[in-house]
Structure formats: C-alpha cells, structure tokens
Symmetry: C2
Subunit: 120 residues, 2 copies
C-alpha cells in the first residue's frame, strides 16, 4: 500500500464513518426521499437539537449532504446519489441473514414458504 492508496482509503473511510451511526443513517434514508429541515429530524428522532445538528455536521463534512438556510430554517439534502441503492443492498443482505438465522431457530415457520419456492 503506497501513500496515495492509503490516502484514498482514508477518504472513503470518512464517508463510511459518517454513515455508520443509526441516527445518521436514518437521516440519510429520510433525505433520499427529498430535502428536510433540521427540526423534522429532531421530532422524528428523540434527541436534543444539538445532537441532531452535530450529526448533520458530520454528514456535511463527509460530503454526503449539503444545506441551505431559508428564513430561520436550514434545509438539508443528499449529495452522492449512489447512497440509497447501496443502503438498500445492505438492507437486503441483512434481512436475508436474519431470515436464515430465524430458520435455524425454528424451521417450521418456513415450511409454507419452502413449499412455495419448490413449486416455482
């Protein structure tokens, strides 16, 4: 690994770290549906205004969102449009794993589904 490779990896890590928090991931998923103002997150997530504000700053510093102030409110929206599809892919994988685990614990729950799949 040379200097430049390491630098690029670290830059990507900043983005991933920004995504790697429940509240911030929630915010990103909300923004995938369109811009929102800070207060909307404060309502949805049960957290202090300052906490949300700091999370948004992390996202902004990582280049994931951009903001603009209109009146007394600040609106945030996504930059980096590839995020939603990626997060979706993770969601699918996670759900598949959860299903596997459930199947190991109680296979009977999945009998009907297995039969359906066999008929395809």
């Amino acid at each position: 690994m040379n200097q430049q490779q390491r630098h690029l990896i670290e830059a990507k890590t900043v983005v991933l770290k920004a995504l790697a928090h429940p509240t911030r991931l929630y915010i990103i998923e909300e923004l995938a549906q369109g811009e929102k103002c800070v207060c909307e997150f404060v309502d949805a997530v049960k957290a202090d205004f300052s906490t949300i504000s700091k999370h948004l700053l992390v996202l902004k510093n990582a280049g994931l969102v951009e903001d603009d102030k209109r009146g007394q409110q600040v609106f945030y929206r996504l930059r980096m449009r590839c995020l939603p599809s990626f997060i979706n892919c993770i969601g699918v994988a996670v759900a598949a794993d959860a299903r596997m685990k459930a199947m190991q614990i109680n296979p009977d729950l999945f009998e009907a589904q297995k039969a359906a799949e066999a008929n395809e």
Copy 2:
C-alpha cells in the same frame, strides 16, 4: 420510527461500522479480487497479527466475510457481493470532491481539461 424500523437501521449500522475503518476497508477491497489468507493482510498492512485477526472478526460478525481453515491457514472471502460497486461509487464521489477542491486552490492546473470538455 417504530421498533422494527429501528431494529433494521441498527442492523445496517453494524455493517457500515464494520466497513468504516481503513484497515477493514482495505481488506474488503482486497477480498473483492478473491479470497486471501490472514497472513497476506499482515504482510500488506503494517500491523500485528492479532490486530488483523480482530478486524477480520468484526467483518465476520457483520456478515461481510466468511472464512475456512485449510491446513494451518485461514482463508477469508467476501459474502455480500454488492459491496465492491458501492465502495467504488464512494471512491468516485470522493475523487470528484478532491478535484473540485484542487480546482479552487489552483484553477490554472485545470485549464487544459476545461478546454477539452468544452469541445465535446
């Protein structure tokens, strides 16, 4: 946000946290090209064997990799095939941002390129 939504978000966060470290991201990118054994990472990254081993455990617990032991070596490979394309998208975005920043600092460096783009 209800209980189930929160649960799903947290599960995704586990995956993202696993990716959000330079060494682990490096490992994932290496594994995108095929399976590797632990010792190969120890050589490439300048870190203790135990450190690499722990990073691999984090990746495994998050469901990103699977391993199997052959002889005295343990080989790891990717599960979740959507990862490489996503990481690539982040890389592209990060590089674009870096280019923008460089352009603000020294616009002259990009004159030739701008001219080329204008002729397209």
